[in-house]
Amino acid sequence: MIDTTASTTSVAGATAPAAGAERADARGAGGRPLRRRGAGWLGFAPFGVYVLLFLAAPGVIAITSGFFDAEGRFTLANFAVLADETIAQNFWNSIWLSAVSAVISAVIGALVCWALSSARPDGLVRAAVDSASSVFAQFGGVMLAFAFIATFGAQTLAWNALQTVGFDSSTFLYSVAGLLLPYTYFGVPLMVLAFMPAFDGLKPQWGEAVATLGGTRLAFWRRVGLPVLAPAFFGSLILLFANAFSSYATAAALISQGGIITLAIRQQLTSETIVGVANSAGVLALGMVVIMAVLMSLYAVLDRRTRRWQR
């Protein structure tokens, strides 16, 4: 009991000077009177209202709507949707598709970063690769799906070649496994964007130091390069997974009948297909957010370790 009061007073004691410092800070710079402060805060109002209406509100609705039934009463019954076989399958499809494409993209992307490190950082090659990477990684979507239809669709060169070995690439492309191709196509550029800063952070002096100490290149990679790059590599890997997991456009353009979780959410939004469950899209959205939250906290931990070497 005494302990509690002691701790509250100490907390109060600790916050009091902080509040005082804040006030001094607010009027310190220009010596403006305190009443201006209220007016200044109003400057955030337009942006604040906008964010509340179009980021906070939709976000909160998306993750809480799963807890309410059609009449707006609280319920946990909607979570039955997660037991639905198709939905579970869709979640699983999304997870393995993202994982496999992320691992493949991370390895290829890391190789590209390594190769790029021999190009001049301010040169033409880097600028072109950077811009092309941004296009494919962030703005491709539907248009990349077209590119793959043009590559593997019926009567194309690749289709003809694969047809002779008895593999029909045009139907493969429209399956969940077929999405691996476009997903890797935008995963590799994202890896280049995400991982390149870590590569730039590898100081040439470290290589020189290993060489002066008589180390081989293998020793450099084993003792210096890989340990320093590892957190950045796994952080980027998580980023790739998260990006593939939440991507929608390419899949929607290729497989309209569904098969991955983002497409399932669209289907649940436009037509409630599972009987007895309201707001099933909200439940699925919450499921995605939970997975993303786990990924992002992992990423935050790895990112802190990465930054240690980038100062």
Binding site: W41, G43, F44, P46, F47, G48, Y50, F54, L55, P58, G59, I61, A62, S65, V112, W114, A115, L116, S117, S118, A127, S131, V135, Q138, F139, G141, V142, M143, F146, A147, I149, A150, T156, V188, A194, P197, F199, P204, W206, G207, E208, V210, A211, R217, F220, G225, S246, Y248, A249, A252, A253, T262, I265, R266, L269, T270, A285, M288, V289, Q310
Partner: protein, 296 residues
Amino acid sequence: MTAATAAPIAGVDPTGTTPPSRRPARGRYGAVPSRATGTVVLVVVGVLFAIPLLSMATFTLRPVSGSGLTLVHWAALFDPAQQSNYSDLFAGIQNSLILAVIVVAIVLLLLVPAMLLAELKYPRVHRVLEFVCLLPITVPTIVLVVGFVPVYQVLQGVVGSDPWTLSFAIGVIVLPYAYRPIQANIGTLNLTTLTEAARSLGASWPVAVWRIVLPNLRRGLISSCLLTVSVVLGEFTIANVLSQNTFQTALLLLQQTDPYVGALLALAALLFVFVLLVDVSRTRSIGGRRPKKRKS
């Protein structure tokens, strides 16, 4: 051992002075691959990545039946007699352009003032602002769309359901892309000192912002606007679920009836965004050093 140590020494100037070009000298130790290895890797990956794009390019030149190359699909797009086939597409492009203008306005009139206010007067808000602006990258767009559906049901009663209303939703998706170039630019300046100097020379706050702050932020603002435009032109998820006709949704519809022109426009759009982004990287590299930025 001798072989291992001989390699780095081969590149080092025996006189002990720093060689004029450091790159080749570093090729044999450390992380940097030799020029040849680097080039081979880049060329192989580059060729693999070029295949779908080249396929798409040759696809637009293929006749509907038979073989050979033809420009008929290119001509069709500009043929007045076939305009009706593409009316949805042109409407979609127009909607996307209108959206781009409104979203750029949202960035310039809502986001930028908030960022400047946080930078100049309320540094404590800075972290909140950064969190809010980067949040949309970690929340999948489709999840936000689940929330947008009821929001837009309400909004419909207030402003109707014209395509331009999508700009509010897309503006949120754009926040991370718009925020980072401006913040990077702010990071290279000492805005507090600049404005205090302006104020002590007698400038009012509006004059200080308009004539001192904004001109200094020009590069960040241009990058941010170009990125915003490319995000808007590439946006598909929100328009698709909310059933609005924009460039991307029209493209997908068109692809089902006329895949050739669909591929043609997709290619053109990719090229256009590529050019925009090359501009972004050029505006960044001109002048002062760009601080290292990372994807969150």
